[in-house]
Symmetry: C2
Subunit: 429 residues, 2 copies
Amino acid sequence: MPITANDPQRRSWIQVEKDSDFPIQNIPFGVFLTRDDVITIGTRIGNTAIDLGALHQLGYFEGIPLTDDIFLQDSLNDFISDGKKTWRLVRNRIAELFDINNPELRDNEEHKHIVLFTLDEIEMQLPVQIGDYTDFYSSKEHATNVGKMFRDPENALLPNWLHIPVGYHGRSSSIVPSGIPVRRPLGQTLPPGATTPVFGPSARVDFELEMAFITTDANQLGEPIPVAEAEDYIFGMVLFNDWSARDIQKWEYVPLGPFLAKNFASSISPWIVTLDALEPFRVAGPKQDPAPLPYLQYEGKKSFDIHLEVSLTPENGEQVTVSKSNFRYMYWTMAQQLAHHTVNGCNVISGDMMGSGTISGPTPDSYGSMLELSWGGKKPLKMKDGTERSFIEDGDTVTMKGFCRNEHVRIGFGEVSTKLLPAFGGKRK
Amino acid sequence: MPITANDPQRRSWIQVEKDSDFPIQNIPFGVFLTRDDVITIGTRIGNTAIDLGALHQLGYFEGIPLTDDIFLQDSLNDFISDGKKTWRLVRNRIAELFDINNPELRDNEEHKHIVLFTLDEIEMQLPVQIGDYTDFYSSKEHATNVGKMFRDPENALLPNWLHIPVGYHGRSSSIVPSGIPVRRPLGQTLPPGATTPVFGPSARVDFELEMAFITTDANQLGEPIPVAEAEDYIFGMVLFNDWSARDIQKWEYVPLGPFLAKNFASSISPWIVTLDALEPFRVAGPKQDPAPLPYLQYEGKKSFDIHLEVSLTPENGEQVTVSKSNFRYMYWTMAQQLAHHTVNGCNVISGDMMGSGTISGPTPDSYGSMLELSWGGKKPLKMKDGTERSFIEDGDTVTMKGFCRNEHVRIGFGEVSTKLLPAFGGKRK
């Protein structure tokens, strides 16, 4: 079925600013609370949010096999379970309905009043109920930088790294949408030279610039997904800030991996941009040498050209861009990650989220974490108020943005923006 | 509120065999499919399953604040969210209702026909929808054994182990109840002496004898749970077989921990035994030296004397007991694990599951995995048919049992019993 929603010539009767992340070619999916305190599934064109639950009730999705309440839910999980064909039918239909030449809804003021919202009338929620969250470690530059700092500069990349899309399980419950502030974690750290740990607020809170993909029901327990089919089970992507506490991580992570250094919070952008919408921005991934094992070999372009940037805003201060990177730097593709994740029979279901790992580029200004940007604190970054940052300070806001662009269209992710609060010191609620 | 359900003198009008795991003092909670193909929440006395959904509809829980459909669900999550006071009220009421001297239900044949089932009329399901699953690594003996084999025999225990209840995140989706067979995983391994990995079925599939606890909604994101309060948020425990593929683990686990070596499956016993029911079996945990940091220090007895055993049954062969261990060997208590897990503000919710880590005792016959029992394959175990086992073979069934016993009563967990199937080699369904 053609993705007619991607037609680059189409314009909408909803006004879209130049350089908007959300032209009519995007049609992302999210969940929001409306001005009437109703939770609904929606999409967005320009700065207008569209209530898909109401649109469906008004009959605008007639002919598409959808249950009556599919959009009147507090998560996209059931819609995602409906599968790729249905996602495509719905996106195509939305594009058609909001096409500048289609009077159906354009000229129905009553219906428009019901389904359209300005952004300040809604409150974005977590778009999916995340069953399991996995984080990969798929940027060669990031793995090399971390290996140089934490382990052996001469053998920074571990022997398995070029053979395995290394990944580990993370915590789902503490994933929050953009805008929800995050507390500096308390925890154990080992001061330099000490042999006994101390307890207190982490002194090395960091962001990690990542993207994450969201899956549909993919396989039965025990049955691998071939790499060639893997993308069929990917609904879409979000920006992902994998908050990290480097000092806690250093003391706890051997031998079973990061735990409290990561699970205090992760933040995502609230609009899921579908893989269909990203289709025009496919690029080849980096050449893989040595060739991976056959179950990880694929044909065609399975990476995406997504510009990414991170900025830091001190409390009452000015925003400074601290990193510019690109999703295409990833060594392992999402298809390889998903094929690897299931090769042992691990079952993947609707709403599972898989992080890319920190996306660092080849140059120091494209590194995806403060750990790398400040090289472990040795090269602090200058803020406009004259202060310096090696890691994130209380009151700082970290904002990540991402977008694709070609000569015709710009498809973006909006942002994930999160303020860091001081460590917990009060009483429990 | 007293736990009257624990009265050791009470007898039930339901017949209970001597040495049953499920006397009227147990009253565990589970989810099952009935002969009428209805999913319900239930309990068990002796070999009789009791439909709590039907009991509630018949009015037997009048006076206890419960929603009408609290037991007519496919998971215990909502009931667990109701909190400790409600769990206790319900258990006390069930004990009273099935007391041999109470004619209320005993003499109502019509109602008994509705609510009681023999075990072959029901099919046990997963008792909770598991949000996040965490696995700890809290047996000193196990950590020492593994350290000796995988790392340095002279410094088997890593420097952080005596300070941190080391844990890591696992996969929820692949946790299955007792009786569901598990496939041998495919994956990458590095043959001895090789520098390039090969792909194929794991040759070192292992069990890990664990127990897991299930939590209720415990804290808001950002707010730690003090160790003194932690047990209030633990609903109960199950037996847990943390299936592991040692050869896959060895190649993949540095630096981010085990991933595909674990997430192909974990198996649990289907009846959750409440912490209340285990109250009579509290014991002190091992002395902790050095003293842990203050946030991990506690008073009183916070371990439990739970006898554990593992047996192995070859296909068409005879069952052999391969290990006898005890939950009390754990160095870190559940209260410490939960306090540690949340000290950074990580939020814990109803239905989260936390595994103890392999429970190995001090003697070689009390080790909790084949890796340790066969000492990495150097001391294979003899089966009754003359064959040997270093790890688990296709067709083998691994069965774990657990129970507490004092002079008055035996409280057991039933079993988690799982057959290992050959690696996937067919077509996907």
